[in-house]
Each structure stands twice: as C-alpha cells, then as structure tokens.
Symmetry: C2
C-alpha cells in the first residue's frame, strides 16, 4: 500500500517536450512542469534536462518520492530500461534512461511505452476509470493503441508493445512503414489525412484547401477539419472518409477484444465532433453478433496529461510490487 | 487441486454431433463417444441423448467424476447456463443445459462457447501448451476466434464472447450477417470460398471447377483445394486469394494482440499446406515494428478433439474454483 503524504513522479517524454508531474497516490496532480528536450541534441543534453525537471517538481511538491515512472515515445527495450528510438528521438539509441534516474533519486523507476502509459493513466483517473477492460486509441501523428485489463497493461510476446494502430483496414490503401499497406495509421493519422488532402486539391481548385498558403505542400489535417467546419464539400468528404476508416478500425477492435470501454484521444480526434454522429451510426450496424452497443466509446478525460498520470501509475505499481 | 483417479467429462455440442469424453486431470483422453444430436428435433430429444452419452462414457471410465464441461456452438448465455442458438441448433433457444446435467450428475458443470473451449483445449494439451498467450483461429463453415492468456479465456464486455472472426479485412468485400462487409469470415470461410468459386466458374468454363457435377450450385471450398492440387490455375488463384486474406487477418491479430502463439484449425485449414509458404512469406514483411517473426504460428495438435479437451479443462477450472 502507498503511504499518505508521499508522491509519485510521472515523466512523459515526447519528441519535442518532456513533462514531469508530482501525482498523489490517489491520482491527484499536484504540480507539473514542462521543458524542451531538444531531442536532436541527444541524451547527453536531454538526460540532465529530465533530471533538472524532476528536481524542480520534487522541490515544488515538498513530499517524499515513492517512485518514478517514465512514459516515452518508443521503441523501448523495457527489459533493460532503454530508449531505442532513432525515429522521433534522434540520437536516443540504446539509451539507458532507468539506471541514471534510479541512481539519482534512489527510488524504483518504471519505463513504459507512451501509448501504454497514456492508457494506464486514462484507466486510472480518466475515462477508463471503473472499467474492467479498456482500449485506448490515439490518433495523431501516428495511431497509438493500448489495452488495459484489470488495471494491467496487455503486453505482447517477450513483453513487447503491440501496435494495434497498424491493424489492416483496406488492401487498396497506401503503403506504410509497418510493412503493410492500408493499415489504420496509413489512413487516419494526421499525415495520412494531409496526403489525401494534397491529392484531392489537385483536381479541386475550387476547394477551401486550394486557398491555404503554400498549398498543397503545406496542407495539414487541421486544414481539412477547418474546411469541413466552413462547409467545404471536399473537406467534408475527407472527414467522412476518415470517420469511415475509424469505424472499420473500431469494429475490428470490438470484434477481437470487445472491451468494456474504448477511449479516444489525439490531435485528429480533437475534431471528433465532426465525425461522432457518423461513427456512432455506423457502429450500430455491427450490434448483431456482439453487444457492441454496450461498449462505452468516449473521448479521453485526461487529454494531454494521460501519459503523465500513467507514468505515475506505472511507478506506483512498480513500487507496490517491489515493496 | 484435482485428485488422482478421477475424471473430467468434456462434452462438445455441434450442429450435427455431440461428443463426450472422459479426460484425466492431467489431460489424457481415456474414452470418447459420439452421438447424433439431431438438432432439428430440439432439446427434448437432444438433452436425453447428451445424458445417455455421458452415462456411457462414465461407465466406460469407471472412475469418479469431478466435473462436467460443455463446449457448445453459440450464442450462449453463460450466466444462466443457457444455449441461445436458433441458427445452428434450431429449437435450442433459451435452453438451460447446465442445470439438468448438474442435477443428474451432482458435480459442477461449466459452459463455454465452442471457439473458447477449443482454444482452452489447445492451450492445455495441444499446440498452445506452454505459451503465455495464444490466439486460436478456426476457419471452417465460419471463422472462430479465441484468446487465451495465462490459461484463462479472454472475455468481452459482460462476459460475452468476442467474435474475432469478423474483424474487417476489405471494404470491397461481401456483406456478412455480422452487419459489416468484408470481414474475415466473409472472405475465407468455406462458404465464402465456394461463393468466389461459383463466381469464377461463370467466366472460366475451362476450369476444373466447371467439371464438378451440378456446378456451380454444388461447388464447395474443397473443390477449390482439389483443383489447386491438380494445378488448375483458377483454383490456384482462389487459394492464393484466400491465403492473402488470411495473411491480412493474421497481421491484424499480431498487431493488436501480439500473442506468443497462433494456433490454426478448421476445415479450410486442412489445406494449409497449399497456403503455408505464401502466408509465412507475407508475414515476414510485417516484422518491422513488431517482432511478428517470433510468434509461433502453427496448426492445431488436438484437431477435432480440441473442444472436448477444452470442455474438460473448463470443468477442471470450475471444480478447482468451487473446491
């Protein structure tokens, strides 16, 4: 059991920012601080930034630290506590992040993939609270996926993180770095929507998208959602296409896992209001052989703090295990 | 713990046959007996058939019975121990199967969906033995799916059985009774292969398929596999298409769950040898972001006995829980 008047430190490492927070054992965020990680400068620069940030947060909280948890953009080598991410953290290859923090702060340090951490946070204090099983789907620059069951992260073979964002949706879809074509990420992530928009604007000079500065090169998913809000038919078509692909992804998740809850988050889903009606209507059609209608599908409650809460929760679980 | 010199009774109820077996607590099949359930005659006929069959098996084994387990074609209402299956067991609607057996034999009686029972059996004594997590995919008249984790059946919301056989594969695929189009079952189950064959033979009078008596009406998946073995190019094309869709299904399973093992079974997969090379080669391409190559993908070892073993294992788990 976690003593009162102590704190857990959650650390959320992204490609641009690192965020640290002091969280009570009950899941209240006491203090939070962000810093630029300047990933390109590598871990020799980044690690001291993280340590300074944690120092600041601990000083602000003024209570003893039980454990630290890190949620990091992956790939990770959890077994060795290493970040293995040349993709969004250039230079961070085979970087042991756990040992230096454990040494410096003298407490257990947990390391989780960011999608898993976010899901753990949402299950702990967010929209997944109180549900036995929860899938979290993050649609932003990529598509993240995590399954929490009875408060525990589902892990794949060898403890590896599954990549449910790459379930296959459409054989005629674009090629993805995952090795397949038409996976969910290749169809609904921000860059995918932007790519469809760049293609669409070519044959639709009348579209809202044609009036964006430096179009089509600078088109982003947000322009598509902006255009849809202004009633542009090309943008509405692209938003509907995105919703339809999300539906097919959700159906596969419901068919395979049938969780109690699905929590949605990420930059693309900030425009969920534009897609919600279409998505919920389509999901009603698959209520035939599974009780899909009983599954709670809703937006994240902790938003961008999900990873921080989840990192703190991972810290707590590790501390309880080691105690 | 299960005492020695006792038996578990596994019962496997299908649309045509019912099978019962006496299984040792260590998972050895001691005796087995089949009977026709003549589903159309309803439970008033079928229930006594099942009870007689169990009596016979118990008499043959001559050892005390610890518990009974039933694996049945669903839908089921596990909570109330009822079969709810007007589809393949006409007349078996809201039929309490658990109470009469518990009353008659005076031991705990477990009830599981047949796909879950088969997977439990395969995890206990078959190809899934020794793996922490296992997905079983049965491709036959339909596509069954079950996930076993740490020896326990994964259940969906409200304890319901997920239907992973209906994950979505191709938006341009046929409509399925599940409410969607292009689900795995609609593309690779026996009837789906037969439907593609009936379509193909129309424009290919030179095909092997055109020489089947009462073609195209009587075409079955087995004719497609027979033709492929004889080198018929239309049949080979249909087998390759089936393999490609199976690949996309397997990739989605690996991406979402990343289990230690995938066990394949069912009538269509009796021709796995015709598809194996193509399937394994295609799966190598998705080894980029998940260690798909580490996942053991293999055929069932217990074959048509999987459900019987699994029913016995479900009985054992229930008995241990109630003891």
């Amino acid at each position: 059991m976690t003593p009162e008047n102590t704190i857990l430190i959650g650390i959320d490492i992204g490609g641009t920012n690192v965020r640290a927070g002091a969280v009570s054992p009950q899941g209240d965020l006491l203090f939070r601080e962000d810093a630029l990680i300047e990933a390109a400068r590598g871990p020799d620069y980044g690690l001291p930034v993280i340590i300074d940030l944690v120092d600041t947060v601990i000083a602000q909280a003024g209570q003893p630290v039980l454990a630290l948890g890190i949620g990091s953009t992956g790939p990770l080598d959890r077994e060795h506590g290493c970040i293995q991410n040349p993709y969004t953290l250039p230079g961070w290859e085979n970087v042991d992040i756990v040992s230096p923090l454990r040494q410096r702060f003298g407490v257990p340090v947990a390391l989780e993939n960011d999608a898993d951490a976010a899901a753990l946070g949402e299950a702990w204090v967010g929209a997944g609270r109180g549900f036995g099983s929860m899938v979290m789907v993050t649609i932003g620059t990529g598509v993240g996926f995590a399954l929490i069951k009875d408060g525990v992260i589902h892990r794949g073979i060898g403890g590896e993180h599954p990549e449910g964002g790459h379930i296959l949706i459409d054989p005629s879809g674009p090629a993805c770095y995952c090795g397949a074509n038409g996976c969910l990420e290749s169809l609904v992530a921000g860059p995918a929507i932007a790519a469809f928009a760049r293609e669409a604007v070519k044959s639709h000079p009348e579209s809202f998208l044609a009036r964006i500065p430096d179009t089509p090169e600078k088109l982003e998913a947000k322009h598509v959602f902006d255009g849809a809000r202004q009633g542009d038919s090309i943008c509405i078509g692209l938003v509907d296409q995105t919703a339809d692909y999300i539906v097919r992804g959700l159906i596969s998740i419901l068919m395979m896992i049938l969780p109690d809850a699905v929590v949605l988050t990420g930059g693309v889903l900030r425009s969920f209001d534009l897609m919600e009606e279409r998505i919920r209507a389509a999901l009603e059609h698959v209520n035939v052989i599974i009780p899909a209608g009983k599954v709670h599908i809703q937006l994240s409650k902790t938003g961008q703090q999900a990873g921080l809460f989840g990192a703190a929760r991972a810290a707590q679980l590790l501390q309880e295990k080691e105690a």
